[in-house]
């Protein structure tokens, strides 16, 4: 059955290609650092599940060390940048084929069964569809632009170098989230919020819950990690049970307040820090800088909606 292990091996193809491209680049001063970084990343993605946790951890630390030392890749210039646009509007086709195939796969094979055979792990269908979409799009792009044989690898390296260490940051933060959970950071934060604010009216309780969701999401980098803890700490006992808030409203607006937090934190790396690297911004926090005003206004709006409409008819 196609599941997470197969997806990991597929995902490893990219860093492996990048590592090989660096290894063949004799002119690069930092060649072996880059080979090490991308090579280790490929090993972790492809072979990680079969290696002991401690070895995997040491490999992760090796990557962190190499990235801190400085990857400083030498620039690859696209071999022949065409002055005129070669494929015309057809160039959009492969770019749009990727989401189209992902979508089709997710909708057509929702349970992972093809012709009655359980072929794909039902939990991973959308990721398998995404990997397949990437393959289809790549073949389409090669067909359309007819690049020299070395171009796909060179282009993979060019973009991977541009993103650099940010590529592994989301996974590092997932690891940090696991360590925080193990160390009980969440409980300390939730207890802190409840002890600092006097929760004696529906309004203060609403503010504590929504602001708490946003703040805690900023710490954890993920509203899904914050939601169970804040809801168990404030949402259920106080907003819902003591003041009679509508559970659906409280939960929905609490989650959306968490999303406001996501827009304001570097901990949500794949939304805020990685795009800054993908778009080659000079300011690592550039995306957060344009997002926080909207996020704050929407947080206030969420609190207002919940306080004004979430307690209708049940207030004591």
């Amino acid at each position: 059955m196609i599941g997470l292990d197969a997806l990991g091996i597929a995902a490893a193809a990219l860093p492996a290609t990048v590592a090989i491209h660096h290894a063949l680049d004799r002119a690069e001063a930092t060649r072996w650092r880059n080979v090490g970084f991308w090579g280790v990343f490929a090993i972790l993605l492809g072979a990680g599940p079969w290696l002991p946790d401690l070895l995997n951890g040491c490999l992760v630390l090796a990557m962190v060390g190499l990235a801190t030392w400085g990857l400083r890749p030498s620039l690859v210039v696209s071999s022949d940048r065409p002055s005129s646009v070669r494929g015309g509007s057809w160039l959009f086709a492969p770019a749009l084929a990727l989401p189209a195939v992902t979508l089709a796969g997710t909708l057509l094979v929702p349970d992972g069964r093809i012709a009655g055979v359980a072929l794909i792990d039902p939990k991973q269908v959308s990721l398998v569809a995404l990997a397949l979409g990437a393959l289809v799009a790549l073949l389409l792009a090669i067909r359309l632009t007819r690049p020299p044989a070395t171009a796909p690898a060179a282009e993979s390296r060019r973009l991977s170098d541009a993103v650099g260490w940010a590529m592994i940051l989301p996974q590092m933060l997932a690891a940090l989230g696991g360590v925080f959970a193990m160390a009980g950071v969440g409980k300390v934060v939730a207890d802190g919020v409840t002890s600092v604010i006097a929760l004696d009216t529906p309004l203060t309780a609403t503010i504590a819950y929504c602001v708490g969701m946003a703040l805690f999401t900023m710490v954890m980098g993920n509203a899904f990690a914050a939601f169970p803890i804040m809801t168990a700490g404030i949402g259920l006992p106080i907003v819902i049970h003591r003041f009679g808030g509508d559970p659906a409203a409280v939960a929905a607006l609490g989650m959306l307040s968490g999303f406001c937090g996501t827009l304001m934190t570097p901990m949500a790396a794949n939304f805020n820090i990685v795009p800054a690297a993908i778009l080659e911004l000079r300011d690592r926090f550039g995306v957060i800088r344009v997002q926080w005003p909207t996020a704050l206004l929407l947080l206030v709006f969420n609190i207002a909606v919940l306080a004004a409409c979430g307690f209708s008819g049940r207030i004591s």
Partner: protein, 222 residues
């Protein structure tokens, strides 16, 4: 309280501009040490969590395609398409994309978009092209970065405040599961309805900010 040292390290480290990978690693060791875990346990834990979140790396498989298309001139092409539309401005292009992203996400189609697949090759060049109409008069780096940051932001805001209107999305499933543990049964549709006011507010608030961006860009041009 000492377990919070990890959070303090994150804030200080990010503020000082230390490599985030190093900051995150040190923070993990600090919080775990405060909770009584030894370094060997922490290393094993990091290794285990890193490997079990490897599904996150699948999205990068789009990079080779995007690179090849960029090499063939996709970004220039996206820029040209916008330049031919007279009424197109940076703010309007981004607002249009945000609405599209919000509506498709509200229908459960969250995979239509993304920073690698859509923003870098298509949306950001379009937003830049709307401002940089004249090849001989290129954008200054600050303006270019600002427009790009806005392009990344509309992708986030559109999907965040669209997806919760869809009843089968992960966050609504999580809400149901958590409330059910406490014996409270909520209908997914009921939760989704409560996401609609914020979805509309997000469109209005951020839409207004994008139109203000247009005015600021216009003022800068003079």
């Amino acid at each position: 309280m000492l377990v919070l040292s990890g959070i303090a390290i994150i804030i200080i480290g990010f503020a000082l501009g230390v490599n985030p990978l190093l900051v995150v690693t040190v923070a993990a060791f600090a919080s775990a040490a405060a909770a009584g875990f030894g370094p060997v346990e922490v290393i094993a834990m990091i290794g285990k969590a890193f490997v079990s979140s490897r599904f996150m790396a699948v999205a990068w498989l789009a990079l080779p395609t995007i690179g090849l298309l960029e090499r063939a001139g996709l970004r220039e092409r996206a820029r040209d398409v916008v330049r031919r539309l007279r009424g197109a401005t940076t703010g309007r292009v981004l607002l249009g994309y945000m609405m599209l992203r919000q509506i498709t996400a509200a229908l459960g189609l969250t995979s239509l978009g993304g920073h690698v697949q859509m923003v870098r090759p298509i949306i950001a060049p379009m937003a830049e092209g709307a401002e940089e109409r004249d090849e001989a008069n290129p954008l200054d780096p600050e303006t270019r970065d600002h427009i790009r940051a806005h392009a990344a932001a509309v992708d986030n805001i559109g999907v965040f405040f669209g997806e919760d209107v869809f009843i089968a999305i992960g966050s609504i499933l999580l809400i149901r599961a958590i409330l059910e543990q406490e014996g409270i049964i909520v209908a997914p549709l009921h939760v989704a309805l409560w996401a609609i006011p914020t979805a509309i507010a997000a469109l209005l608030v951020h839409g207004a900010r994008l139109l203000m961006l247009d005015r600021r860009l216009k003022a800068r041009r003079r």
